[in-house]
């Protein structure tokens, strides 16, 4: 009974993992990059240089908006901080009210600019930046949001199952806690897979659970249908945007936003503002809403918003008392998105994300390796198996290389071309397509070496390309203490070395390959090897 339970869990683990593994690799890879969404965007806009003073930039933003868009219905100013050293400013005209904005609140081009500290719009590259990774990690960029979210949601559910069953079938979870046995065929892949899974299990559980919970409305929309007439009404309740009141028609100049900002920050006792929403600027009915930046607080966001009268500067609405459900939802989103994270914690979460990427990659490779052993002829194999191997190469080796191509195209595409941000993404996908075709046509082990090699080269040479095309090369940023550029170059170097080492290691196995390596007689495919435990 016990044995068959374990075996059925093993079966479940294998198949949930096999079906969702490569999808989850992409989700983890992009989600991990999305921890540095803002930083990546700033890197992809190299015209943004030194950090600017938040107060000065808000003054400048107000001056710019008053001069250019005084008849707008609403303004949004994001206050610069260390992660995003520039004030992003956007506005909405009254005639836009019907035309819906993008889902993630971005306005169409021409309705948003970046403001430098002198109040002039910055001329920067048109780029999707780090938002590409964020968007890809739940909707695969070219898929409609709904379809992508359903796929990612189902894959995340499969991951929940795989994590749970993985713990059940891993009998030696404590005995093998620190065990990695290299150069041992599928046993080594299994060790690597369990190491990345078990040691980072709290992170995996947290990120998967919160991910599923965030996408829950795509699976269980009935509560929404029962209570709201339209999806739009629900979303505006979920993430309330400042609602412009009816115009009073009385002209009243807006108070300096900085004075309101100061009184808000004084009320928060050291808390900082993240975003400023202004409605009906120049009218007596104007409001200024200041949203607090999450720092040491997990819960915050919605409850920590102060609203002021735009004409007098008086506090209109203090922090609201969110309901328990709103707090719970806020915690789930916060845990997943980590807006609260300080730089050290952000790096830690990024590293934990890489363990998830490694867990899904090693799991997919392990599955293929085991299936290979069951084949009568280990070279070639049936169509299905070849497809699996092709996808493994094209995604696990090919996608990181395509990411490098994305960054390359950011540096190489001329600034003037139309639709440049889409061009960058197109370059990345084109490269990915080439890798896919290449790995379908080449012998698989050679394809591994070649695609990994290309990825390694692209990442290792990226700092060089950056140094040539911008004035912010590695040496200059080391001298100037430019943490963003140093960090980006360091990650490129690490990824390049990792991919390169994998290519060399695969190549060495290829050259010394004389039939599959002899394996231990315990067939080593079963996790539940009955052996003495610690």
């Amino acid at each position: 009974m016990k044995r068959s339970f374990r075996l059925s869990m093993q079966w479940l683990h294998t198949w949930t993992g096999a079906v969702s593994g490569l999808i989850l690799f992409l989700v983890f890879f992009n989600g991990t990059a999305a921890y540095f969404k803002q930083e990546i965007t700033t890197w992809m806009e190299p015209q943004i240089t030194a950090a600017i003073d938040p107060v000065k930039s808000v003054v400048a933003a107000q001056a710019f908006l008053t001069a250019n868009t005084s008849d707008a219905e609403a303004w949004t100013i994001s206050v610069p901080d260390a992660r995003r050293p520039v004030a992003d400013v956007s506005w909405r005209f009254r005639s836009d009210a019907q035309a819906r904005d993008d889902d993630d609140g971005r306005l169409r081009p021409g309705r948003s600019v970046m403001i430098d500290s002198r109040g002039y719009p910055l001329a920067v590259n048109d780029t999707e930046g780090g938002n590409y990774f964020f968007q890809f990690h739940f909707a695969f960029h070219y898929l409609p949001l709904f379809v992508g979210s359903i796929i990612v949601g189902l894959a995340s559910l499969a991951l929940m199952v795989a994590l749970t069953t993985g713990v059940i079938i891993h009998r030696r979870i404590f005995a093998d806690f620190f065990t990695f046995r290299p150069a041992n065929g599928p046993r080594s892949w299994l060790d690597a897979h369990t190491t990345f899974a078990v040691l980072a299990l709290p992170f995996h559980m947290m990120i998967t659970y919160t991910g599923v919970a965030i996408l829950a409305f795509f699976f269980m929309p009935w509560a929404v249908f029962a209570n709201y007439s339209s999806a739009q009404a629900f979303f505006s309740d979920l993430a309330p945007r400042p609602h412009a009141a009816a115009l009073s028609g009385i002209v009243a100049p807006l108070v300096p936003i900085t004075s309101v900002l100061q009184s808000a920050e004084a009320q928060w006792r050291g808390g900082r503002a993240a975003t400023i929403h202004v409605t009906n600027p120049g009218d007596a009915s104007a409001t200024i809403e200041i949203v607090r930046r999450q720092s040491a607080l997990l819960v915050g966001g919605r409850g920590d918003t102060l609203t002021f009268n735009g004409a007098t500067g008086a506090l209109v609405r203090g922090p609201s008392n969110p309901s328990a459900a709103a707090i719970a939802s806020s915690v789930v989103f916060s845990l997943h998105e980590a807006h609260f994270a300080n730089p050290a914690l952000r790096w830690l979460l990024f590293l934990c994300g890489t363990t998830g990427t490694a867990m899904t990659a090693t799991g997919s490779i392990l599955w293929a390796e085991r299936r290979r052993r069951k084949l009568p002829n280990p070279v070639g194999g049936p169509k299905g198996f070849r497809l699996l191997e092709t996808l493994n190469v094209a995604i696990i080796a090919g996608y990181p290389a395509a990411t490098a191509a994305y960054f390359w195209s950011n540096r190489l595409l001329p600034a003037s071309i139309q639709g440049r941000s889409n061009g960058e993404i197109l370059c990345s996908f084109a490269c990915w397509g080439v890798f896919l075709v290449w790995s379908a046509l080449r012998p698989k082990r050679k394809a591994w070496v070649e695609v990994l090699g290309v990825g390694s080269f692209l990442f290792l040479a990226l700092p060089v390309a950056n140094a040539v095309t911008t004035s912010r090369g590695t040496i200059a940023s080391l001298i100037g203490g430019d943490a963003l550029y140093i960090g980006f170059d360091a990650v490129c170097l690490a990824l390049g070395l990792l991919l390169g080492a994998s290519a060399v290691w695969t190549g060495r196995r290829l050259s010394s390959h004389a039939g599959p390596p002899v394996d231990a007689p315990d067939s080593s495919v079963s996790l539940s090897v009955p052996k003495g435990s610690e």
Partner: protein, 122 residues
């Protein structure tokens, strides 16, 4: 943060050395029962201290999130060190590696052979 990571790393290292297999791999001997208990206690204390430090620095909520990440990285660090040390010692002992490994697993199963039975009975 750095100190807390170091504590987590040493804490997991102590827990690893408290296990027969890693003790044998690193030090070449089978640890006594007392020694294993002591190493475990030290490991647990170091991990608790590591948690305490992050808690103190980042507060209860963020500190707890951060500590799980730190602890994960510490444990992965121990796996890397053990793997490198294992490779080095195996290279040093050349063909003796296979023999010692089989002897060790024999000792392992001899002392704890009752464990799977007990587990199955539960």
């Amino acid at each position: 943060m750095g100190a807390s990571f170091a504590l987590a790393l040493f804490g997991f290292a102590a827990l690893a050395v408290a296990m027969r297999r890693h003790h044998a791999d690193l030090l070449g001997t089978d640890p006594s029962r007392l020694r294993r208990a002591a190493l475990r206690a030290v490991g647990a204390l170091l991990l608790a201290a590591s948690y305490g430090l992050v808690w103190h620095a980042w507060g209860a909520v963020i500190g707890t999130i951060g500590w799980f990440c730190l602890a994960t990285m510490g444990a992965i660090g121990v796996v890397v060190v053990l793997t490198v040390a294992g490779l080095a010692s195996r290279r040093g002992k050349s063909d003796g590696a296979r023999r010692s490994r089989s002897a060790e697993s024999g000792a392992d199963s001899a002392t704890t052979s009752a464990a799977p039975v007990r587990e199955a009975a539960r």
